[in-house]
């Protein structure tokens, strides 16, 4: 599907030569260089770069139908048609080299060779959405200025007819002077042709040229000369950077920018002062000049074949974003999701429960009674099994998140949510990271890189852990099962209680965002412009792949961290042995290390209705929230004589205070869920916030304010409940 090869560029060669700047002067080269050529995959957000990256490298990076899925560079390897290795770097989507957000800054810095950890790409693959060619070509136009060999991939060619367009790759190739590959990456079409183009010995440099507008031309020349002389930039990069400095009015703001030398800075400042005095809009002039060239190009390359009146998608958008129906649809999606988590998961959960019980029985029969048998059945199988049983419900959550992402609804939900979010000082773009945090706060926090404003981004990071992640699901489910046992209670009631917890976390996130935006992170109300991706049928293969990946991560976690903590906890609750071998399990655990530690903690948590055993669960679950469930399994498995096989919820319902009062009353179950809604019980989140904010100040602040809030709110819930007679 590639357009006809250009003279001098055709034919693949097994000995793909490296560019001169890597390989060195030909005359002095004696042995083939070892460094493999580096390709960068770039393009606008949501144009299919990662799908193409996965097809080329065989890797399985996450893809989705909304802008901002990839927020950091991903590296993989592929092979030329003759088996030579080539490195491919998948870069975050960007609308321009003038970066406005941290993810775009990654792309700019890699392309300009500013990153010490990444080699500057030798060749660049520009992926463009064939249905949005004019807009995508703006970024391609900037890339061509870098003077590197470029391959243009016209992706989504299968959708052009539906959009009423006919796009001609051969004409585009002729106009730009670089290879243009026609592609439909989702269907795997065009990947072979792209690999062939990547395998070419020589790739022609772009024939494209454009005239910098006359008022700007002198400063481009002066800045280019200064960047070469004072900043040591190669001449071609210097020209691209000069144009970038003039387009990017805030070029030094975004993280990763290389500071300019004093000489170049003075040149830029001098010209800016002069233009400002004359009222010249240098940035607008440059962008307009590029678009004029692109517009002319598109007239040659695109033919409109259909009507451009309102489409079905336009009508659907009007309904889903700009009407009361949008809120109804959103509420319905959420209700169905929570109901499905309870109603559909029952059968596989019973199956896992049966397998775990059977395994424990077999091990018990095969081993002599004693500490080792107790370690395996209570510590290992009991601890791990208590968490693994919740896998089906977590998978159902990911199925729904995958459906929202894949169909294009996620961006519509972000647009819908902009209005309520703007009331607390956030904008719709914060919605996608926050919704992602329902699955896991870590990718959610990383997704904030798409937010341009640093204060808005920080507020989103600070409140993201309040969105109930999937690790909290086992805790909620266990507490709901303890609170509302048996089949007599309808699934809808349980789903409603669970929804209440999610709503409480969301309300907390909005409340704190409002507080932060009116105090120490004060800023202007945000402006939002969001590109709405096309509606697509869900890619069930991709959704299934992401669910399996998530299941594997969950099981790996259960088999490593949770297993290790369960074993340590078993040891701490079993030793030292009570002097009286006939002591009851309750007396034994109270005598153990865990019992001692828990009692030391008890005064702090007793006002919340929690005893020392729950306290141990709170401490151990700081590693990961779901560890609370395994900790309860170990602690109550040790205590109960029949605890090995009895369901955990029955053990919890039977648990008592020393005076015989039940421990897990409905009020305590509710208080415990409320505690987990607010508490920042996750070491990995602390680490990722440190990395994203590049400081310990914010994660420590976040830890303090969330833990403090959890204690205060739980105290209020529990004590108010008691006053009301619960």
């Amino acid at each position: 599907m590639a357009a006809a090869p250009r003279p001098g560029s055709e034919g693949a060669d097994p000995a793909l030569p490296l560019p001169a700047h890597i390989a060195g002067p030909p005359g002095r080269r004696r042995t083939p260089p070892e460094r493999m050529p580096v390709y960068a995959l770039v393009g606008n957000p949501n144009c299919g770069k990662t799908t193409l990256f996965n097809a080329l490298t065989g890797l399985r990076q996450k893809v989705g139908n909304y802008p901002g899925v990839t927020v950091e560079k991903k590296v993989g390897e592929t092979y030329s048609q003759h088996g030579h290795a080539m490195r491919v770097i998948d870069l975050p989507g960007a609308y321009s080299l003038a970066a406005r957000s941290p993810d775009e800054a990654v792309t700019r810095d890699v392309l300009l060779g500013r990153r010490a950890d990444t080699p500057q790409p030798d060749r660049i693959i520009c992926v463009v959405d064939a249905c949005n060619l004019e807009r995508c070509l703006y970024f391609v136009h900037q890339i061509l200025d870098l003077g590197r060999p470029v391959i243009v991939v016209l992706n989504m060619m299968d959708l052009t007819a539906r959009a009423g367009l006919e796009v001609r790759p051969a004409e585009l190739e002729e106009a730009l002077g670089v290879p243009v590959i026609s592609c439909a990456a989702v269907q795997g079409r065009g990947v072979v042709e792209l690999r062939l183009a990547m395998s070419r010995r020589e790739l022609p440099l772009a024939r494209h040229s454009w005239t910098v507008p006359a008022p700007i031309a002198p400063v481009v020349a002066e800045l280019q000369a200064s960047l070469v002389a004072a900043d040591g930039r190669p001449p071609l990069i210097a020209r691209a950077e000069a144009l970038l400095l003039l387009t990017d009015q805030d070029s030094v703001r975004v993280a990763g920018s290389t500071p300019l030398s004093a000489v170049t800075g003075a040149v830029l400042e001098n010209w800016r002062r002069r233009w400002t005095g004359q009222g010249t809009d240098w940035s607008g002039t440059l962008i307009k000049a590029r678009y004029e060239v692109i517009h002319g190009l598109c007239r040659e390359v695109i033919r409109r074949t259909g009507d451009c009146g309102p489409s079905l998608a336009d009508r659907a958008d009007a309904l889903l974003v700009n009407s009361g129906w949008g809120w109804l649809a959103f509420a319905a999606v959420m209700a169905v999701m929570f109901y499905a988590i309870f109603a559909l998961a029952e059968y596989p959960m019973n199956l896992i429960d049966g397998v775990m019980a059977d395994l424990a029985d077999r091990v018990k029969d095969a081993m002599e009674p004693g500490d080792l048998q107790n370690l395996v059945t209570s510590g290992m199988i009991g601890g791990m099994g208590g968490v693994v049983i919740f896998l089906p419900q977590i998978l159902i959550l990911f199925l729904f998140v995958g459906l929202l992402e894949s169909t294009g609804y996620m961006a519509r939900a972000a647009a819908l949510m902009d209005r309520p979010m703007s009331r607390v000082g956030l904008h719709g773009k914060s919605f996608i990271p926050l919704l992602g945090s329902y699955a896991c706060a870590i990718p959610g926090i990383m997704a904030t890189r798409t937010i341009e404003n640093a204060k808005d981004r920080l507020v989103t990071i600070l409140v993201a852990p309040l969105m109930s992640c999937s690790a909290r699901l086992p805790v909620y489910l266990l507490m709901i099962a303890t609170l509302l046992p048996g089949d007599a209670v309808p699934a809808a009631t349980k789903a409603g209680l669970m929804f209440l917890m999610y709503a409480l976390g969301t309300a907390g996130a909005f409340g704190f965002a409002w507080l932060f935006k009116r105090t120490f992170l004060r800023g202007d109300p945000p402006l939002m412009i969001l590109e709405l991706p096309p509606y697509q049928p869900p890619h069930f293969g991709e959704i299934l792949r992401q669910m399996l990946e998530r299941a594997w991560l969950f099981l790996k976690n259960a088999g490593t961290i949770i297993l290790a903590i369960s074993i340590v906890l078993w040891f701490l609750s079993t030793y030292p042995k009570h002097p009286d071998p006939a002591a009851s399990p309750e007396v034994q655990i109270a005598h153990s290390f865990a019992g001692e530690a828990g009692r030391a903690l008890e005064p702090l948590i007793q006002p919340l209705g929690f005893d020392w055993r729950i306290g141990i669960g709170l401490v151990t679950s700081f590693a990961a929230r779901e560890v609370f469930v395994s900790s309860m399994g170990v602690i109550f498995g040790v205590e109960g004589a029949e605890g090995d096989t009895a369901p955990l919820r029955d053990a919890l319902r039977a648990a008592q205070w020393p005076d015989g009062a039940p421990l897990f009353t409905p009020l305590v179950c509710l208080a415990l869920m409320v505690y987990y809604v607010f508490a920042m019980q996750c070491m990995s989140t602390v680490a990722v916030v440190k990395r994203e904010t590049n400081s310990w100040r914010w994660p420590l602040f976040q830890l303090a304010y969330l833990t403090g809030t959890a204690w205060v709110v739980t105290f209020l819930v529990y004590q108010s409940g008691r006053l009301l007679g619960f």
């Binding site: 004019e134 387009t247 009015q249 962008i287 307009k288 958008d317 700009n322 703007s422 719709g428 939002m528």
Partner: protein
């Protein structure tokens, strides 16, 4: 910029289904630059699809959602007939 024979209105006030030509961008410079780079600069044709608080529109073949604060800074001339 040449004077427009048509009334100049913010994008949020452009009626649904109508087309306008962007004549002026006002407000935050960085934001103006970004929307120009996305193809919504001066002289671009914009078709309003729906909404006033959240303006959904089509520009150069792409579908965009702009909140009220963003749309109020984009001044368009209301063209009487949608160009094909």
């Amino acid at each position: 910029m040449s004077a427009s024979p048509f009334p100049l209105i913010p994008l949020c006030q452009l009626p649904a289904g109508e087309t306008g030509r962007i004549l002026r961008l006002t407000g935050d410079e960085g934001f103006c630059q970004r929307i120009r780079e996305m193809g919504c600069g001066e002289a671009a044709l914009v078709t309003k699809l729906s909404g006033t608080t959240m303006s959904l529109c089509r520009v150069r073949g792409m579908r965009l959602a702009l909140n009220h604060r963003a749309a109020i800074g984009i001044l368009v001339e209301h063209l009487p007939l949608a160009p094909r």
